[in-house]
Symmetry: C2
């Protein structure tokens, strides 16, 4: 029954020839579309299995206009933040029949635009974009090309596009309050570069917690080593200026630092351990994202948990709504945050 296939994979036509049905019937039978009798359907499916049939997604995509591919444009997979969330995205996408094309923008707007065009040329059904600092053009182009996009983890302003973010302001507020509760009264907010709007939101949370606790203005420090005009933030040397600023902050009596994200917080922690000028400094450190708790890396870093799994799920489902033609106005989904204490801010003392 099963013939020797001279070359190439089995096609619908091969099954049609084998079973005597038409190609169309075979196609419908394999996809359980109606108008095919139970018996026929079963027989065709069995034959397909025996012959080792495997759908050609390319052909299917061309005809149906759906690739079942979502492109993720993230900054870089070596950053655990992106790694972890991509991991989650991948399994959720797979559960819904989608595959993930992964591209890295290196936080560069120009590269990001290029990648977006590639994603469009490949006819991705949609894009999950972790935007850079200047993604307006990318967004505009994708709108032209009619490729659905959901902005992930960062925002370009309220309701500019579909958007899934953590509750940034509240997270920053919680983090700062945590420092304060641990007895810290001279606080700093450190961010490697000014991630549009996310930075502003977290700054607001930082300041409002300071306000609430009556921290005087001169005890509220901020620092952003990489200038906001930079088109290539990742290749900027933020270490030297950051170290200098840390030394300065130490002199100024800073005793608590809220760092923009966990990855940066780790840099800071390692500087604290390694730089002789910082040795013995009693300073509380708290990050954001809770990347180690989400998966691996047990360390003592306090952080703000971002519910990555929820963000990933919401992102994919929002994107799917668009893919299926929703024309509702852009929606911003704010995911809940939660403080996680691991001791890097010091013990309660009093």
């Amino acid at each position: 029954m099963a013939e020797i296939k001279p070359k190439g994979p089995v096609t619908l036509q091969d099954i049609a020839r084998e079973t005597g049905y038409s190609v169309n019937t075979v196609s419908r039978a394999l996809r359980n579309k109606g108008d095919i009798s139970q018996a026929t359907c079963a027989r065709i499916q069995r034959t397909a299995r025996e012959m080792g049939y495997m759908v050609n997604q390319i052909a299917s995509s061309l005809r149906s206009g759906r690739t079942k591919i979502i492109t993720v444009i993230a900054g870089s997979m070596s950053n655990p933040f992106y790694g972890i969330i991509t991991d989650t995205l991948q399994s959720i996408a797979a559960a819904r029949g989608y595959s993930l094309l992964v591209m890295c923008s290196r936080e560069r707007p120009d590269l990001e635009l290029e990648l977006a065009e590639m994603a469009a040329a490949r006819r991705s059904d949609g894009i999950l974009l972790f935007p850079t600092n200047a993604s307006a053009r990318t967004l505009e182009r994708l709108r032209e090309l009619k490729v659905p996009v959901v902005l992930m983890a960062r925002t370009l302003g309220d309701d500019v596009a579909d958007n899934v973010i953590a509750d940034e302001t509240r997270g920053a507020y919680l983090a700062t309050r945590h420092l304060i509760e641990r007895g810290r009264r001279n606080l700093a907010f450190l961010s490697q570069y000014r991630i549009v709007f996310s930075y502003e939101k977290r700054l607001r949370g930082f300041l409002s917690a300071c306000e609430e606790a009556g921290i005087p203005e001169q005890n509220r420090h901020t620092f952003v080593p990489v200038p906001s005009t930079t088109q290539d933030p990742l290749s900027w040397d933020w270490r030297t200026p950051t170290l200098e600023r840390l030394i300065q902050w130490r002199r100024e009596g800073v005793d608590g630092i809220f760092v923009f994200c966990d990855v940066e917080a780790w840099y800071v922690q390692s500087m604290l351990q390694q730089a002789p000028e910082l040795a013995g400094w009693d300073v509380g450190i708290i990050g954001f994202d809770n990347i180690e708790g989400a998966q691996h890396f047990p360390t003592g870093l306090c952080s703000v948990d971002c519910a990555f799994e929820e963000m990933a799920t919401r992102g994919i489902d929002l994107l799917r709504e668009r893919i299926h033609g929703s024309t509702l106005p852009p929606k911003t989904i704010v995911c809940p945050v939660r403080l996680v204490c691991r001791g890097s801010c010091g013990r309660l003392e009093d």
Copy 2:
């Protein structure tokens, strides 16, 4: 000149209509294939640009039989090892015109096989596979399906398939020797689970360094918490048994541990910091992969650098040879390793 396009993206036919040439001529002109005059070529390309043409990769793939897609099957993107190397793979692939489909096997052979079939259904030109502990079936199936594969970072035996790996034995030897040079004489080799052949290779390196330095047999410890029959290593609780074993090793006077990879080494380091039973233990730790040095994460962990970029380049280029039809016998490319000292093994003392 540029018309209002009523719907959908511009196609070759639109350009053909606009310029008066045939579809085929337009196609050839845009790809700079021969048999088209300079003038025509230029004119067509200009028109295409003006009309905002963008090739439909799906249609192109269907006809040409090439998708220009490489599927990466890695364990999980939340593991920085995979994250970093995927990052590198992505940029090298992009430079060669390939996009990356990223899938995560979670180190599970069954899931891996499924993913491989998906990759085949999507007609990936080839697969970069970071194999699980039981990838023989996957490999066999891919051979049936005639999808080129290169095994990455791990080996299933010498020349079973194309393979790009680090020089595991030498790396382990260097790591162990490093411990010994730092005055460590009671050594252990710790590996979360028994990654086929890679484990054996590193064990060999460990033992040969012990041998060379005259470390007595009773001072050569090994431990693998997760049993090798496990089909789902990542969800196994390795922490409890590992902690217990660390406590035991401490009692037994172990003073140096070579850990299978950096990620695991970090777990160990954090246990050393956090578990009261381990407090104050003077033990040298060295990992493998040098993941932090490759990109971020400055910590004090000694490690063995694996030249990720070279591995990635070699992997992609080897795969491309296969994609282009090479029928040479399977090749194993062994990439050089290099010791990196950051102090976690202690100072030289004598």
